[in-house]
């Protein structure tokens, strides 16, 4: 009896589910996988509401899959039942591009109802790099979110040091070092800048500052053939020398990790991303942002990242999915999206959108986060990354503390890191093949 009841319940549930799927299908519902939370989720809801209002007959059903996004997508693709659309972290879509599981966005873009060349040029240049696969110069996906890191500073401390907080005139490395020296008062434990020399779990923070400086000096982490590190080149060493001088010559920085040092007014300049703006707005002092300074190579670079949206080959409604993506990319919609989500827009023209311009006006620091995107960079692909960055950061820490000379410290670290790279390529022959073929493609 009980068993019969159980069975009948299961059957009912199945029937209900089956019919609901059928009825959903009748109204052209796009499914979209994502891992958005809080503000971004809010932004997505607004975007969908606007889209559905403008496109009656099409519904978008967002499906939160959280941390399991990739596993869920892989399983859905393998089962031949992917969502119509998905947002992915950074370059994760590459796997699906390789497997032929997604449409090349290019297919939609180049049609009469696609995007014009002006519209494509409107994306920040670095965004295209995030959307290529194998450096093929093609749009495989379109970027919905951008982020960047820039310098944030305490306006009161700048004024106290005799600098104009609204126009501190920090253009070059030297300007930066001089300013940092002026802002510091070592006796009181007050510093112009905190030089983050971390390895281990904090290595990412170290990378935010060292990568743009190594690049701005004309150097790189890794050699072009990906067989050895390049952080021992004279150019890359100049970046370390800069921070060494900042600390020892200009007395403008400390490497001591100090929690909350910026918030407590003990460090004048820090670096952070736009996601921290809500925290900065709670500070007790006025704050501003500025760009990374120009290095000896005459260039400046910012760390940045982009996140794309993808349309799947086995989508039920690829045409409608394209309508949605196009709607999302529209300047006015992206402005609203960026304001609510807190991410940066991926197109320059959003800055001229009246709503977004007003938003920037209200959020003073935001301006240079967005402008930093013009100097955005893609992280270098470094085999055995953790080992390489740990070795490098450990050496820089010793150098900063005068435990080893700059040349010896960096050269020893390079030898160790090269060993790790060699070992990595031996361990991952398949990845080696792939990367090498990609390299060739890039050179052609």
């Amino acid at each position: 009896m009980r068993r019969a009841l159980q069975i009948s319940m299961v059957v009912t549930v199945c029937l209900v589910l089956a019919f609901s799927t059928v009825s959903l299908a009748a109204s052209k519902t796009l499914t979209m996988y994502h891992a958005f939370t809080s503000n971004t989720l809010e932004a997505l809801k607004n975007l969908i509401a606007d889209f559905e209002q403008e496109n009656p007959g099409i519904k978008v059903k967002p499906q939160y899959v959280g941390d399991a996004l990739m596993q869920k997508l892989q399983a859905a693709v393998a089962a031949g039942d992917p969502p119509d659309l998905a947002w992915t972290h950074g370059g994760e879509y590459g796997e699906f591009a390789k497997a032929g599981a997604i449409y090349k966005m290019e297919d939609f873009i180049r049609r009469p109802d696609g995007l014009s060349n002006e519209e494509l040029d409107d994306f920040f240049p670095v965004m295209k790099t995030y959307c290529e696969y194998n450096y093929d110069d093609q749009w495989w996906v379109l970027p919905v979110n951008a982020t960047t890191i820039t310098f944030v500073y305490n306006a009161d401390m700048f004024a106290a040091a005799g600098m104009d907080p609204d126009n501190p005139g920090i253009e070059t490395w030297e300007d930066f070092a001089i300013a940092a020296g002026k802002l510091s008062d070592p006796q009181k434990g007050i510093w112009g800048f905190h030089i983050p020399v971390f390895s281990g779990g904090m290595a990412g923070y170290f990378d935010w500052i060292f990568r743009p400086f190594i690049w701005a000096a004309g150097g790189k982490y890794i050699s072009d053939d990906l067989q050895s590190v390049a952080f021992d080149s004279p150019e890359a060493k100049e970046a370390v020398k800069f921070f060494y001088d900042l600390m020892h010559e200009y007395k403008g920085g400390t490497i001591t990790p100090a929690d909350q040092a910026f918030a407590m007014g003990k460090v004048a300049i820090t670096l952070d991303g736009p996601w921290s703006i809500p925290q900065f707005e709670k500070l007790r002092f006025p704050w501003r942002t500025m760009l990374y300074p120009v290095g000896p190579s005459g260039k400046r670079y910012h760390p940045s990242a982009g996140e794309p949206v993808t349309i799947f080959k086995d989508a039920k409604y690829p045409e409608e999915a394209w309508l949605f993506v196009k709607f999302w990319m529209r300047t006015d919609n992206m402005a609203k999206w960026a304001i609510t989500s807190g991410y940066l827009p991926t197109r320059r023209s959003v800055l001229e959108d009246p709503i977004y311009a007003a938003h920037v006006e209200k959020t003073p620091g935001l301006e240079y986060f967005v402008k930093g995107l013009d100097y955005g960079t893609v992280s270098e692909y470094v085999p055995s990354w953790n080992k390489v960055i740990d070795t490098y950061a450990a050496a820089v820490e010793l150098i900063m503390n005068n435990k080893v000379t700059l040349d010896k410290g960096i050269d020893d670290a390079a030898a160790k890191a090269n060993e790790a790279i060699k070992r990595y390529w031996e361990d991952y022959p398949e990845e080696y093949e792939q990367v090498m073929s990609r390299l060739e493609a890039r050179q052609e």
Binding site: S199, G200, A258, E397, A420, Y428
Partner: protein, 305 residues
């Protein structure tokens, strides 16, 4: 012998076999657990330690290569030295402190249970949470400790940022965190010391020091021995608090051997190498324990009986 109504059932198993089977069936969950989570990993990692296994690639047998690489790596020796440094500081101090506190808490004082609970609270709080709190206390520029020091006219100490001091700060934290556990063990031991011994000693004119030296100390030596062995084993494996408080820095001054193993396993994805570190550590710990047992026969008092 055949009988239509009460045919003698032929048992599939004899009673004895049945009992054995039932017994093992009852044990099965625990045995399975032990097999899957204890025995299997032990052997699996032993095999791994002779292999080269990038976590996302194929396994390859490499003989003693992992062990050779470890022994040639100066960072390994540095991390081992740091772990031993920690053990040498932590273990004796934790034992002395625990005995002292346990003897105080063994007195008939008012509210003794409150004190006992108080000392035990750090043991049951999440070590990650309290390590974060302590790293605030230790903060060079804004920490409470340096605030006191400067108010008293001292200068700031780089508790976690000075490479010569960071390890001591970690030891201070660990002492605070682990004290309660050892105190409980000593309390139990102290309460097992028969009161008549003290009475007899008093009659013979023994003062408090003599009572401690000739009664309390010898009678708690089995506990001391136990704590010493466990303390050494635990101290060499120290990880959590260092991971949270210093991340192994500054300048690798607190980079201990289990962080080294963790980095190789989960950040560099060299599982074979990390397993070899684990086995090397097992051998070192085993050797240290053997030495301890040898030495202990000289001082541990076992009641005849």
């Amino acid at each position: 012998m055949e009988d239509s109504s009460g045919r003698r059932k032929r048992r599939f198993w004899s009673t004895k076999t049945e009992e054995i089977v039932t017994g093992y069936l009852c044990l099965l969950p625990t045995l399975l657990y032990a097999a899957v989570f204890l025995v299997f990993p032990v052997f699996f990692s032993l095999v791994l330690s002779f292999q080269r296994w990038p976590m996302f690639g194929p396994k390859k047998f490499v003989g003693w290569q992992n062990y050779q690489r470890i022994l040639q790596d100066e960072v390994f020796w540095l991390s081992l030295r740091n772990a031993l440094h920690y053990a040498v500081l932590y273990v004796p101090l934790s034992i002395i402190l625990a005995l002292a506190v346990a003897m105080l808490l063994n007195q008939p004082i008012r509210g003794v249970n409150l004190y006992r609970t108080g000392y035990f609270v750090p043991v049951v709080t999440s070590s990650v949470a309290v390590a974060v709190v302590w790293s605030f206390l230790f903060n060079t520029d804004y920490g409470l400790l340096n605030d006191f020091l400067t108010r008293l006219g001292g200068s700031r100490v780089g508790w976690l940022t000075n490479p010569d001091i960071a390890m001591y700060s970690v030891v201070i934290f660990s002492l605070w965190k682990g004290l309660g556990g050892n105190v409980v063990l000593y309390l139990a031991a102290l309460q097992g010391v028969p009161g008549h011994l003290y009475e007899a000693a008093k009659i013979d004119g023994a003062g408090p020091w003599a009572q401690f030296r000739y009664i309390t100390w010898p009678l708690v030596t089995p506990t001391t021995f136990f704590m010493f062995i466990m303390g050494i084993i635990g101290a060499i494996q120290v990880f959590e608090q260092i991971y949270i408080m210093t991340g192994g820095g500054p300048m690798r001054a607190t980079y201990v051997v289990f962080m080294y193993m963790y980095d190789y396993a989960f950040r560099y994805n060299e599982m074979g190498y990390a397993s070899a570190v684990g086995y090397l550590m097992a051998v070192i710990i085993f050797a240290l324990t053997l030495i301890n047992m040898r030495v202990s026969s000289k001082y541990v008092y076992y009641e005849q009986g």
